[in-house]
């Protein structure tokens, strides 16, 4: 029996999070993410979870990190201005290997920008917002149903790789409502962090066992003694200034993500088989691009779309393959050209890459993509 509902994107994020096992939410509300806080506050107590509104966004992510160390799957949500504030603690989560999910419902910036207008301006902030060398996982769904499934994936990946995972949304998909069938989503698998089974004097909190990707993670209070720090640390978890310890740790933190792209990277290919041209687009704007692809095909132009759902780490192999096949790639994004830089890096001259962007607070409509591409092709 189908269980059809009209659901808002932000609502689907909370429903997916609860499905994934979220039992703690801490944050500070901000448009266009506020519904995520509101619904978490309403639902979490019913699932035996906790909701805390903190004094600001910094405390919001900090409390989520603490709750995760204590054993609860935790989430915080914000928009651009709050995402800036959370960066320091995202780095802490990466270094101390604490699984959490940070949702950024993007709006126009910089600073407080246009408070109710959409944007995709945090693509690079998601990648490099926190300082220092690191890898990061950032996912970006494009429909209400996909927000539900991708939120679950964000939790699963954060647990599996013991790292903060960023879930990028935008004002358009966060606020819109569309049809979702909850029945068909009922059986999505969830992944829980691997816990150690025995505590002895030789217990090493940050030692990776043979065959594992990350150290096993006990919850605070379960009888394991360990130390958590943002400083470079050895397998005991205590700080170290040793070069080889630093080298080993920092490379391990990067490589646990980069070496497992196969598992992490997710994307959609639309009508690319016979394409001479390709659009790369994500989130709400990929829906404009998809309509543009259909219309351009009606006019005889062989074009398709590649949509990264995993924004970081980028689908390097797939984009590189694509660039060997097509004459030109158009990166269509609601910013001044951010993912364009990554695509250009990957393509590195194998085909031409052009960008189409916008930063005035308006959505990109299919017609302007069609005009841009036709002008470019027939010029």
């Amino acid at each position: 029996m189908a269980e059809l509902k009209l659901m808002q994107g932000n609502e689907a994020c909370v429903m997916g999070a609860i499905h994934a096992g979220m039992r703690f939410y801490s944050g500070y509300p901000i448009t266009p993410s506020t519904e995520i806080a509101e619904l978490s506050a309403e639902l979490l107590p019913k699932y035996g979870g906790k909701f805390i509104q903190m004094e600001d966004e910094i405390a919001g992510v900090a409390a989520a990190l603490g709750a995760s160390l204590a054993g609860l799957k935790s989430m915080t949500a914000t928009s651009g201005p709050g995402f800036s504030l959370k960066q320091e603690n995202i780095g802490y989560g990466i270094m101390a290997e604490i699984p959490i999910v940070i949702v950024d419902v993007q709006r126009s910036g910089p600073s407080t920008g246009l408070p109710t207008s959409p944007s995709q301006g945090d693509i690079m902030q998601a990648r490099w917002g926190t300082h220092g060398d690191h890898s990061i996982i950032a996912l970006y769904p494009a429909s209400v149903k996909e927000i539900y499934t991708t939120t679950i994936k964000a939790f699963n990946l954060s647990e599996k790789y013991r790292t903060p995972v960023i879930l990028l949304l935008d004002e358009i998909i966060g606020h819109m409502r569309e049809k979702i069938d909850l029945e068909e989503l009922k059986n999505i698998e969830i992944y829980d962090r691997k816990k150690p089974t025995k505590s002895d004097d030789k217990y090493l909190a940050y030692k990776v066992n043979d065959g594992d990707i990350v150290p096993e993670m006990p919850s605070f209070g379960e009888g394991y003694r360990f130390h958590v720090t943002g400083l470079v640390h050895d397998e005991t978890g205590f700080p170290s200034n040793n070069e080889s310890v630093a080298d080993k740790l920092l490379n391990r933190l990067i490589n646990k993500i980069e070496d497992n792209k196969q598992d992490i990277v997710n994307f959609e290919e639309y009508l690319l088989e016979d394409s001479e041209y390709a659009i790369i687009s994500f989130g709400a704007i990929s829906r404009s691009s998809k309509v543009a692809v259909d219309k351009l095909r009606e006019q005889g132009i062989k074009i398709g779309m590649f949509r990264p759902i995993t924004i970081w780490p980028s689908p390097e192999k797939e984009i590189s393959e694509l660039s060997k096949k097509v004459k030109k790639i158009y990166v269509v994004e609601l910013n001044a050209g951010q993912y364009f830089l990554e695509v250009q890096r990957i393509v590195s001259g194998q085909c031409e890459v052009r960008k189409y962007g916008k930063i005035n607070g308006d959505i990109i409509v299919p017609q302007e993509i069609i005009s841009f591409i036709k002008e470019d092709i027939y010029a």
Binding site: L4, K5, L6, T31, P115, T116, I172, I173, H175, M176, R177, E178, K179, A284, R287, S288, K290, V291, I363, V365, P366, Q367
Partner: protein
């Protein structure tokens, strides 16, 4: 069924976003696809408010409306702001207090939505439901049964009878 794009406009607090949600939910009850989106200014009351609903048998890909098939405007400010977004041959539904715009290429229904809510039903907040009753009478978009079901699901307990009457009064505004 073709794709219908509807824009409900007025001022914040008139319940237009709720109206949009109800319309989309009733379409889903009818087995159709529906997508609802909205925009509003930073203020919760007053200001310009806009709810958009797309109803179709097909998958709805682009989530926004550029040109609409039907425009509802409950205030002059909203009507002036959005009248140019109504398709040629489209339907404009305005409240009696709203000035008739000078467009020859559209069909205009000027009806007392706010007065019906205020005077006849004695509750200003059911104006959105009166409007839905009228719109659905004009377009016959969703079944009356589904619309009523969707309305009753969304409105506060104890106001069911009032809202049912609002739907009927709205319907009766269209001859």
């Amino acid at each position: 069924m073709k794709k219908y794009e509807i824009r409900l406009t007025g001022s914040g607090g008139q319940g237009l976003i709720t109206g949009g949600i109800i319309l989309a939910e009733s379409a889903i009850l009818d087995g159709k696809n529906a997508l609802q989106s909205q925009s509003y200014g930073p203020e919760a009351r007053g200001g310009a408010s806009k709810a958009e609903v797309i109803i179709s048998d097909q998958e709805i890909v682009f989530p926004k409306i550029t040109e609409c098939d039907l425009l509802l405007s409950l205030t002059n400010v909203a009507c002036n702001k959005y009248i140019h977004t109504l398709k040629k041959g489209g339907i404009l539904v305005i409240d009696s207090t709203v000035d008739r715009p000078e467009r020859e290429d559209i069909i205009i229904y000027q009806i007392p939505i706010l007065e019906t809510a205020n005077e006849k039903l004695k509750k200003a907040f059911v104006a959105n439901i009166v409007a839905l009753g009228a719109i659905n009478k004009i377009l016959n978009l969703v079944s009356e049964n589904s619309l009523e079901k969707a309305v009753l699901k969304r409105v506060p307990k104890g106001t069911e009878e009032l809202n049912r009457n609002a739907l009927i009064e709205g319907r009766n505004l269209i001859k």
